[in-house]
Amino acid sequence: MTNRIITFREAINEGMRLEMRRDPTVILMGEDVAGGAATHLEEANDEAWGGDLGVTKGLVREFGRKRVMDTPISESAFIGAAVGAASTGLRPIAELMFVGFLGVCLDQIYNQGGKLRYMFGGKAKVPMVIRTLIGAGFRAAAQHSQCLYSVFAHLPGLKAVVPSTPYNAKGLLAAAVRDDNPVIYFEHIAMLDNTGEVPEGEYVVPLGKAEIARPGKDATVVAIGRMRGFALQAAEELAKGGIDIEVVDPQSIVPLDEDAILSSVKKTHRLVVVDEDNPVCSMASEIVSLAAREAFGYLDAAPKMVTAPNTPVPFSPPLEDDYIPSPAKIAAAVKAVVS
């Protein structure tokens, strides 16, 4: 069974299912996560939604409506309730349907969830997970296609992970649920149908550990989330031209595995950061800044960033396609830094 291939969506679902089996204090809430149907049709409706994209589908059947709760469109209330519940003994998973909705509930996330422990002098813990959709490519336009994880990375007290494969999606979910801090878990909408090998049982991909997705010697390409796959595609193209890149996938952005990134840069002497988020005050800038400050003497060329432009996400399909960093743009940036 080690070769079992499942989707990203299934991997997240399984990750939640196993954690909920393991620990009865893990609960799940969000808009339509139980699918509404359960409230007025028979409980065992197989067709019930599991969130907009079916990620939580079926969990209400196994765990019941006491542990899998539909919520009103009241993000402040239910995410704040997750904070309150976490600090008094549960380990809630709250689904913020799209990260673009952070603007209606950020206070409960960053000023409450992210700071209670510090403000209380360490006398509280807030073990909770916020799962949320990110990413362009779904023709969902400016308010439903953002990444925005750089905003969360700026705010102390929160942890943040951006899974990039079904395998790490499941393992990072387990790590996030078991962590005693608020962890924001970013699911890329355009990756949910991607497939990959995922073991059946429980396992943890630890927070704060990068993965070398591809070893290489000519340049370091740090690629976050969906960009990992694009960087690997670029790597194949580049390899044909004799350029051998190392692809580093941070997996967690908070805490960030600075050592892994710096070691790679010190080895390859060149850096390209690939990130779908907007560029200013972003993780991409952060990683470039890190390398400039901590590996300055090792850099043989100016580092480069391949990111979305500094604009909202346009709706029109050709515009949106061009908005997203592509393997071709990554390859071009690598060629520029190695030349």
């Binding site: 149907a37 539909d70 009103p72 469109i73 603007g103 209606v104 336009a141 709706f315 029109s316």
Partner: protein, 322 residues
Amino acid sequence: MAEISKDKLLWIYERMRLIRDFENQAAALFAAGKIPGFVHLYAGEEAIAVGLCAHLTDRDFITSTHRGHGHCIAKGVDLNPMTAELFGKATGSCKGKGGSMHIADVDKGMLGANGIVGAGGPLACGSGLMAKVKGTDQVTICFFGDGASEQGTMHEAMNLASIWKLPVIFVCENNGYAQSTPAHYHASVKDIADRATAYSMPGFTVDGTDLFAVYEAAGEAVARARRGEGPTLLECKSFRYYGHFEGDNLSYKTVEEKAKYEERDAIRKFRERITERGLVSAAELDAIDAKSAQVVKEAAAFAEASPYPALSEILTDVYADA
């Protein structure tokens, strides 16, 4: 029954028909892969947008929702750029940059569909405030769903509009669901309009499939706002024929529930009533039907034939030049 001129009756019928035809066509175009992204259809709720907007001029404003096509059409937005916008074409109302969820026409007073549930409440207070500060008699209608009523912004907006006596009409389009979640689960009151007392404003619940009921209640609310007497909360109970968005399996609705829709159909009821009373002839309405079918088809052709925006458009319109 409110007295409505024949011209107005024909206008109302035409707008409702256009909305229905537009939405049915949009469903087909979505199924055919021509309209990308999230598309939320308004079919079934036509009497609300039209019954309200019948009292407005181009100088008045509306704020809308993710389910905004009906509001656009009721407010007089042209169907060609609307359809082109759904396609993401350069000729769209927003040059293709917004799509269905952000369709807008500020010149017509349509301040935008909105991807954020409940976001229209504060914006409506803004156009209301503008009218108040400038001393005009412009009014703003804020459309929002039953689900949106649980969003904090709506509470804040209704309180603000009340204490500032803003010329805003809050219209809750209660179609019974927020996505798959039924209103009887997500709302702690049976009638959202009952919350009007929490803001010391008049509140009414009407049958949102009955054009005349909507029109009459709307007329009072709009007149009150124009007189500077402040906001009203008007709840219109209705249903949607389609899923929450296209692609929705509708698993959360019972067969019995769906079976009642035809009977409650707003357009059919309106048509029967005005023809039975001899206010207009069936022939006149048939002509509108034919015209409407034609107009939406042409709009689709226009959209289809239009070019996509140039890639350089990604970078424009972020900021206005100072």
